[in-house]
């Protein structure tokens, strides 16, 4: 099957800038994948997200090379409005990305722009709110909602357009740990139950690592790693270079590995680590 996202040798310079924001990017994503994207500040994560949803080059000027294909559409040759039905986007600032006053109207915005009929708008709003699990917020004012709720509304507004891909640019950076976990769990559900391909940009690697099968790392405009989180977190040089915040339990087991005490897979979460630790101590005790 044709991949849902295919980026080929993509390079992009912002106007008046000497250094490329992205350089020689190659990335293939199959439909239904859940992909994490991480990297230090200024690595080009946002730029890549904007290249996928067609803002680059349709809205943001600059020089580009290579090609970005999403669901068989060349983003450089497809108007943003056409791409809107294929790829949905959620941004970092929960405040600025919302245009309406009331939840329902926020979801209606994109559907109205696509000239969907009034009855169909009602139906799709209902369905999207159900999918995201915020049906009770339908008539609430956006101003009264928490940051996490606002981000769910932004996700629902994207989902209402029935996209095949969702790109989320650090949607949890302004949320507390609880809100972060909730958003990631919601995205997992959208991915599993509805087959929506998800590309989640996230700096909080400890949240991301246990939940995504594939992690892409950007640094200085280039892809420097594309593997499972376990494989990436095992590479001490890489994680230091990228300034990745390695989960403490993973760091501990990396040390145990280096000391030659431990040979198994690196645990990414605390309970996983506890189990491994128990096994380790048990086997040592029985040997003694």
């Amino acid at each position: 099957m044709e991949p849902i996202i295919k980026v080929e040798n993509f390079t992009f310079y912002y106007p008046d800038s000497q250094a490329p924001a992205l350089e020689g990017i190659n990335l293939t994503v199959r439909e239904g994948e859940f992909l994490g994207l991480t990297g230090p500040a200024g690595a080009g994560k946002t730029t890549l997200a904007l290249a996928l949803n067609g803002i680059i080059p349709n809205f943001q000027g600059g020089r580009m090379g290579g090609k970005v294909m999403v669901a068989g559409l060349d983003t450089a040759k497809t108007p943003c409005a056409r791409l809107a039905g294929v790829i949905g986007s959620v941004f970092q600032d929960p405040e600025a990305q919302l245009v309406a006053e009331v939840v329902e109207d926020e979801l209606a915005f994109g559907l109205e722009n696509l000239a969907v009929s009034r009855e169909e708008i009602q139906r799709r709003i209902g369905a999207a709110l159900e999918m995201v699990g915020i049906a009770s917020l339908r008539h609430r004012s956006l101003r009264e909602l928490s940051g996490g709720q606002k981000q769910k509304v932004a996700i629902a507004a994207a989902v209402a357009l029935r996209p095949r891909v969702l790109v989320l640019d650090e949607p949890t950076s302004e949320l507390d740990p609880q809100g972060t976990v909730e958003i990631v769990a919601l995205l997992q559900r959208l991915n599993r139950d509805y087959g929506i391909t998800i590309l989640l940009i996230e700096q909080k690697i400890s949240v991301l690592a246990p939940r995504v099968p594939r992690l892409v790392c950007l640094n200085k405009g280039r892809i420097v790693a594309d593997a499972s989180p376990r494989q990436i977190l095992a590479q001490e040089k890489l994680t230091t270079e990228l300034g990745l915040e390695v989960p403490p339990v993973t760091a501990l087991f990396r040390m145990l590995r280096r000391a030659g005490v431990y040979q198994g897979d690196l645990p990414l979460e605390v309970d996983e680590g506890q189990r491994e630790l128990g096994r380790l101590l048990g086997s040592r005790a029985s040997r003694a």
């Binding site: 904007l50 949803n53 067609g54 803002i55 349709n58 809205f59 108007p79 943003c80 409005a81 791409l83 809107a84 039905g85 790829i87 949905g88 986007s89 941004f91 970092q92 600032d93 405040e95 600025a96 990305q97 919302l98 245009v99 309406a100 006053e101 009331v102 329902e104 109207d105 209606a108 915005f109 994109g110 559907l111 109205e112 722009n113 696509l114 000239a115 969907v116 009929s117 009034r118 708008i121 009602q122 932004a154 507004a157 994207a158 357009l161």
Partner: protein
Amino acid sequence: MPGKSFLHKLNPLTKVVWSLAVITLAFVYQQPLPILSLWASVLAVALIGKVLREILPAIRGLIIFAAIFFLFQVFLIDEGQVVFTLVPGTGIGRITDVGLKACTMLALRMLAMTSTIPVLLATTPPKDMIVAFVEKLKVPYVYALMLVTSLRFIPTLQEELSLVIQAQRARAYDLEGRNIIKRFLALIPLALPLLLMSVQRARTMAISMETRAFGAGPRTSLHTSTFQLLDIGVISSCLLLTAVLAVVSLH
């Protein structure tokens, strides 16, 4: 917000008609007392609409604005009898009876005219305003949206301004205890971060709209704008009353 009072139930355009009626009368009246009663009637409408308390800070701002306006103008007019001099024996800061009356009129007129705006905003959800403008007045959607979103950013900007002030204060940046010019100059370093933040905000909003097919072509609308019997009643009484009052006062 809907169903709070009869003002909330009116079509936004009905309230715009009321605003225009008040503005017309404010220009027609040439005496302080009628204008003062016109202003009182605006506040009475706010009271009946259960938003007087809510708009009080805005009204206070408008009063201060009118007072500043008054002060700037009143010393500039030198026709008529001198009634007061700031520095006795010199010509500095003299106020004449003509100037006093003209400036009082100007300030009251401004107050009466502008006081309808907070009433309008407090009783109308912005989306209703957009829908009414687009459907009934055929204003292009882009302009209606632009107007309404910029209004929506005002509270956010206020919040951010106070944040920036706090941040600057934490860096021992003193705002108080200076004269007015120095205070104004001191605002410039505050304005810069605010401006940058709004530019970033506006960019995010534009991108977010673009990714949801904004400007794709003809669009539909979830809500419609309707005129009820109440609207027709209010509009006709506004027109009638304005006409009658105008004719009476012009004679």
